[in-house]
Assembly symmetry: C2
Homo-oligomer: 436 residues x 2
């Protein structure tokens, strides 16, 4: 299988500098490789074992197999952050942004993350319009089982539809840590449940039950997704600068981070928008650290931004080309797509050379124009060209990014797997909740 190509001709860093930084990762890459082959989850890097964990896929398929998916129309995913961003990335890459408008493909996924009155009312109205509870499944995900938004949304949605659907607990799946209070509640309420390994953090959990259960319910090919991820681990845990894209990308990003505080993932396909949002969490939480591994105050981090081409060329290109030179850019796109052809008509005479061309070829001309303008403005970038957008390619891409982030954190000398500052607002919120 051919995966994406990674082009760093315009990264503006010498090969010798890259190789010098890469060497610092030799031991850690070896460690990651070893941990990926072990059938356990005691170290955080063992999320690398998920794509080859046969027990896991058997458990997921066993659980999903208990449902009759023929009648299923909607999956409501109640989860936030690491509990929904990976699933959203895979789902939206495959079905696109307007899937909800077309009747053809079922089931469709609805994401409830933050607390929103309007979204809650709209979701409850939709479920109450269905004939039978066989037409929906509610999947609720929280590793700790203490996530305010998830518990509030899950309990509230149940309360708003249980009058119509008395057997609603049968239609709920809880995904949580095996010893959490949420797990025990699910048992008491006779909801189906499946666990997340304790050592696997939210932002590295897309290939655990967190992502696999909802994606399998939605009818997507999770085995192909895992095959792509396993291939990314295979090539990404070898100390081989030519073929290890995660290593290359980490080193380039690390070197630029010393002068460029902003990382722009410029995705030239609206289907990939949620992959960008998933990466925001991955980079934001893994690298944004007050303290380094030695306990020194560093306030490290890179601010990830997501741009969609060509949409954001019409809003952000002026800033990117004319504004401060404080960004390192990843241009990401898909090479081939089944594509309609722009007709030869009165209207298309308005723009030279679009007539009789495929939409995808027009997009490629835009991408070529964007790259050339980056070069002329002397702005550094790398290009990632996917051969297709399908489960296997997205699996490869997401796993490539997770390895890249482990390597980047290592180079920056910070813990990729914790998020201590998140407590800052949670403590204060809890105090205020006690007062209302």
């Amino acid at each position: 299988m051919k995966y994406f190509s990674f082009d760093y001709d315009d990264a503006q860093i010498s090969e010798s500098k890259l190789e010098k930084s890469a060497k610092k990762l030799e031991t850690y890459i070896k460690k990651c490789h070893e941990l990926s082959t072990q059938d356990s989850y005691t170290e955080p890097e063992q999320s690398l074992h998920l794509p080859s964990d046969e027990n896991l896929i058997a458990n997921v398929e066993g659980l999903v197999g208990e449902y009759n998916l023929d009648q299923l129309k909607y999956i409501v995913l109640v989860g936030i952050g690491g509990s929904n961003l990976g699933t959203m990335a895979v789902y939206e890459s495959l079905v696109g942004q307007l899937d909800y408008l077309t009747a053809a493909r079922k089931p469709k996924m609805i994401f409830l993350d933050t607390v929103s009155s309007q979204k809650m009312y709209q979701t409850a109205e939709l479920l109450n319009s269905l004939q039978s509870s066989d037409e929906f499944i509610i999947v609720s995900i929280s590793k700790s089982g203490k996530t305010t938004e998830t518990i509030a949304n899950f309990a509230l949605l149940i309360s708003l539809v249980e009058e119509k659907f008395a057997d609603i607990n049968d239609r709920c799946i809880v995904i949580s840590g095996e010893n959490s209070a949420f797990w025990q509640k699910a048992e008491k309420l006779r909801m189906a449940k499946i666990s997340i390994p304790e050592s696997v953090g939210g932002r590295f959990s897309v290939f655990s039950a967190v992502g696999l259960v909802p994606l399998a319910l939605a009818g997507l090919n999770v085995r192909a997704l895992l095959r792509g991820a396993a291939s990314a681990i295979d090539s990404g845990t070898k100390f081989d600068f030519v073929h290890n894209h995660s290593l290359k990308s980490a080193v380039i990003t690390f070197i630029h981070s010393q002068k460029l505080p902003i990382h722009n993932t410029f995705l030239f396909n609206p289907r990939l928008d949620s992959c960008g949002h998933w990466y925001r969490q991955l980079m934001g939480e893994s690298l944004g650290k007050k303290l380094n591994l030695k306990g020194k105050t560093v306030h490290s981090g890179i601010t990830p931004i997501v741009s969609i081409g060509s949409t954001d060329l019409h809003s952000m290109a002026q800033l990117f080309y004319g504004g401060p030179k404080d960004k390192f850019t990843n241009v990401v796109y898909c090479l081939h797509e089944d594509s309609p052809i722009v007709p030869n008509s009165d209207l298309t005479e308005l723009v030279p050379n679009i007539q009789n061309n495929k939409l995808v070829d027009i997009m490629h001309a835009v991408i070529g124009g964007v790259k050339e303008a980056y070069r002329q403005n002397k702005l550094p970038f790398v290009s990632i060209a996917l051969p297709a957008i399908d489960e296997e390619q997205i699996g490869y891409y997401l796993q490539f990014r997770m390895l890249e982030m482990m390597y980047l954190a290592q180079l920056m000398g910070v813990n990729a797997f914790d998020q201590p500052s998140v407590e800052d607002y949670k403590k204060e919120t809890a105090k205020l909740l006690a007062k209302i």
Copy 2:
């Protein structure tokens, strides 16, 4: 009418410093006030006249009145950048993100901006599933009439549905500059059309026909929208530091921009997401400039990022609190909303103090927690608290931001209204289009 409150107690800038900067704007504010009262569009600041332009609203209502909206189910808006971001901001603020799932409210708006094969196929499939062309209207917007994506999408969509709907030109509205080639094509093809004043740039055009026509077709109250905008002009073009929020916000943002390269609009309501994206263009294009007004190379600009609370607390809070101190934050939220109450149930025992509380009050506890954590980490922010989310309030908010941006550009010494660097990629794209 009460509009939002603006709280800058945590902006970390002394009152005397603020007033000193504000004074620099006295003449310009007076100029803006005068231009807002003139019934013409020769200066770019005269977008400030749009909300009180009675001819404009009469034209828009005349055009929209020609359609029978009872049967209308879908409006396809073909436009990109300044031609769709404002409309999307108003529309999504009001109908929310899951409106497409519920049958109740019609018509629904579909946005085609960039070229996307999947979106094009899905939109064509939807239109072809309708019984009559009375059920849809296609609005195509391009001031120059030369926007590659818009012309390609518009022509392609027509070609994909004209076999079923022979009279499709009757269902198309073109919004363009009055002398553009697009305008002439519309005339030739007997499509309805309405013009955009030459001096009103895309990012300042939401209250022109660009925004008003699709929003009125969607059944929204455009007169209330304009009333809110007119109020923002009324208070925002007085040299009065206490009541002029645009002035205050511009001065605070300007002072922080000298050390903080990133501006974070942290919107604590998912309905406001598109207001954030609209603001990205407004800030990105207005301030991101290679040259200042004197022709000196400055590479000025602030990078706008958009965060959604509480969603992004679960992905970006670690970076915001622990990472580099390079951001100035606007916390934006709505005080009151019709809201369901979280039940007292087995599940809600998992999180202390959420039982029997409204969702909106839980969100307010989160917002309070977030603000307190900003204070503890000594990170500067201002708060904008909307009393409600409706047409009038959104009209006020968007106009407040447009005035703020004119003042900010003035303080930074750059032209708020041009976007010369956008040509950088357009030229190269045109060369590549000629080759395919």
